[in-house]
Symmetry: C2
Subunit: 139 residues, 2 copies
DNA sequence: CTTGACCCTGTAGTTGGGTACAGACTCTAT
DNA sequence: ATAGAGTCTGTACCCAACTACAGGGTCAAG
């Protein structure tokens, strides 16, 4: 029996060992085969899976949502309808988040450009006034 | 003394009352004046502030980071240098998150397009294979 | 055949961001 | 003057997502 140990997986996907076990317990990665003595031996693809989980998480997916995506791949009775709904909802959310990101980014760019780094008095810094406006101009 | 009560603020910014007090305790919004009997009377701008907090949070800023931005506006000894650093770091983060969003979005769009909603067998749904690839083509 | 690195299970603790009372005061309308 | 809605402080609880042990087994090197 070959494969990767849990610490190799952890190192390879840059999370800690406990997190790998946690994801297994939560059902995000499937239970790997074990050696006779009970050690987990992971297929190397698990590293990619965990990296995907991390990226998805990074952009605001919860572990439950990520599980939903990943679990479908192991489900013979996979119902496409539900996935379709889910995907479309998520696309909406992503669109508005991208919009907010772009707004926030231009706010921060303005700040960086006009507060050039040393002792500029705060009332000359545009971020403060912009922030309190609550709405950044749309473009 | 006029202004808005805490429940008007909560309703107006679509959070609950406890959250308004919580933000005050955390220093995200400044302590409002009080009536003689101790009731908070908020300037109406607080609604915008809370909406800003919520949007910023939505795109992954922590309350501490948001506080950093908002607090600067009340700080006479505001040091622009730190803000400049902060803004530039955040711009980097935002850029890579936007990138990830766009990848995820096209993944979901593919899914939605090719799993048109009823009983499509899972092995014809591209999301599953794409997901396990771990990396979506760049473009 | 022991030492040290690695692995196991299980349970408890932590952090971030709220949310829910309890017990008491205030304000408005009747 | 009293009911009912609103507010106050303070403490406790909650959920997601980890993270850290404790107590014990495994394995390769010397």
């Amino acid at each position: 029996m070959n494969g990767l140990t849990i610490s190799q997986i952890a190192k390879g996907s840059n999370v800690n060992i406990e997190t790998v076990r946690y994801y297994e317990k939560r059902g995000l990665i499937s239970e790997p085969p074990r050696t006779e003595s009970g050690y987990r031996m992971f297929p190397k693809e698990v590293i990619q899976d965990i990296q995907f989980i991390k990226r998805a998480q990074d952009i605001g997916f919860t572990l439950e949502e990520i599980k939903k995506l990943l679990c479908a791949s192991n489900n013979e009775n996979f119902q496409s309808e539900e996935m379709y709904q889910f995907a479309n909802n998520k696309i909406q959310e992503i669109d508005s988040k991208i919009h907010e990101f772009i707004q926030m980014k231009s706010l921060l760019e303005e700040l960086a450009a006009k507060c050039p780094g040393s002792g500029v008095p705060k009332d000359q810094c545009p971020i403060i006034t912009n922030l309190s406006k609550g709405e950044i101009e749309d473009g």
